[in-house]
């Protein structure tokens, strides 16, 4: 994961470009399949309110792995990281405000 390789031919100042080695992709692929098996397995266990929480937590872990490694955000510029962070923040703020509205107004009286 810490190998930083450059493009093979660096003719006239080609930009530095992080190349993620295949072994990282393979490990992440394995993890994603394992988490998929885990989330299906977990759904067969009776956990009451924790069933959706566990399922979503595993989903968030899988999505994080995809974003960091398959999409290469771990090795990307600060601008990309900030963009993604701002987007997630806005998304959560919008969902949060929407839910706050529903919960505080008509919850249980539909």
């Amino acid at each position: 994961m810490n190998e930083i390789t450059h493009q093979p031919a660096a003719e006239h100042g080609e930009h530095e470009h992080h190349v993620t080695p295949p072994i990282v992709y393979m490990v992440i692929f394995g993890c994603l399949l394992a988490f998929t098996a885990l989330t299906v397995g977990a759904s067969y266990i009776e956990m009451g309110v924790f069933n959706p929480i566990v399922a979503l937590a595993i989903g968030v872990i899988k999505a994080t792995l995809v974003v960091l490694f398959f999409m290469g955000v771990k090795y990307s510029t600060k601008l990309t990281k900030l963009t993604l962070g701002a987007g997630l923040f806005t998304f959560l703020a919008l969902i949060g405000m929407t839910l706050a509205d529903y919960i505080s107004r008509a919850w249980g009286r539909w």
């Binding site: 759904s43 997630l88 929407t98």
Partner: protein, 251 residues
């Protein structure tokens, strides 16, 4: 390509830097161009997050409102096909990531192979989705004029699902809200499938270009940014799968 046009049009020589043909004139360097393109792609993906986010929020709220209907309706989904499709989609993300690596390390045949595999896995995903959709059509679970609440007011009328879940009959006023579940099911998986179809079409185009060596000459931006799109579509499914198929098994 753009170099020669610019020279032919008499662009001022002083401003003309030596640079590879794939660098646009208005960028200082290839790196700046790649960063700008990458930034644009992420901005597009953010709009996509907002778009799907609205659907997820609707699902969250309606599931809490009409909880028994959503639980019973989600029992209609087939966990085997859902899991198989998740595996297929994750595999296609892996082959796409390997494709980006092949492009970066200038392996032309490797890149073509990876793109073809991604293309085929995408088609398999859509094929499995078709099997699932056709079952919904047969059971009259597609929202609209032909929608039927029979399987929810009288669960025993659907022996296969009844055997597994033993759902209790629901009163009609709750059972009719199962239509809302299937509306959101088709809206979310349908929009996801549409993204897959668009992605597969672009993949077809890329396979032709890759065979001509377009992405293995040091300019990988297109493959990279398509990879971002493909992985994003994968992430949407990573959340759709548990929310639609899994979380209501025991309720």
């Amino acid at each position: 390509m753009s170099d020669s046009t610019a020279i032919a049009n008499g662009a001022p020589e002083a401003q003309h830097h030596e640079h590879p043909s794939y660098q646009r004139h208005h960028f200082e360097s290839v790196e700046q161009q790649a960063d700008a393109t990458n930034f644009a792609m992420w901005l597009f993906l953010l709009t996509e997050i907002m778009f799907f986010g609205g659907l997820f929020t609707a699902y969250l709220i309606y599931r809490n409102w009409y909880y028994p209907a959503f639980v019973a309706a989600s029992h209609q989904l087939n966990i085997f096909w859902g899991t198989a499709n998740t595996g297929v989609l994750i595999s296609s993300s892996f082959t796409m990531a390997m494709g980006v690596w092949c492009a970066e390390t200038r392996r032309k045949s490797g890149l073509v192979l990876c793109l073809v595999l991604t293309f085929v896995l995408g088609l398999i995903f859509l094929g499995i989705k078709t099997i699932e959709y056709s079952e919904k059509i047969e059971k009259h679970h597609v929202p609209g004029f032909h929608y039927s609440v029979k399987n929810f007011t009288d669960p025993a009328s659907d022996p296969e699902t009844y055997k597994e879940y033993k759902d209790k009959p629901m009163p009609l006023d709750m059972a009719r809200h199962t239509e809302l579940y299937f509306f959101l099911y088709f809206a979310m998986t349908g929009m996801h499938a549409l993204h897959m179809i668009i992605g597969i079409a672009i993949l077809g185009f890329m396979i032709f270009r890759a065979r001509a060596g377009a992405y293995t000459g040091g300019h990988v931006t297109f493959v990279e940014n398509f990879g971002l799109y493909w992985h994003f579509v994968d992430i949407i499914w990573i959340f759709l799968f548990p929310l639609l198929y899994l979380i209501s098994r025991h309720q």
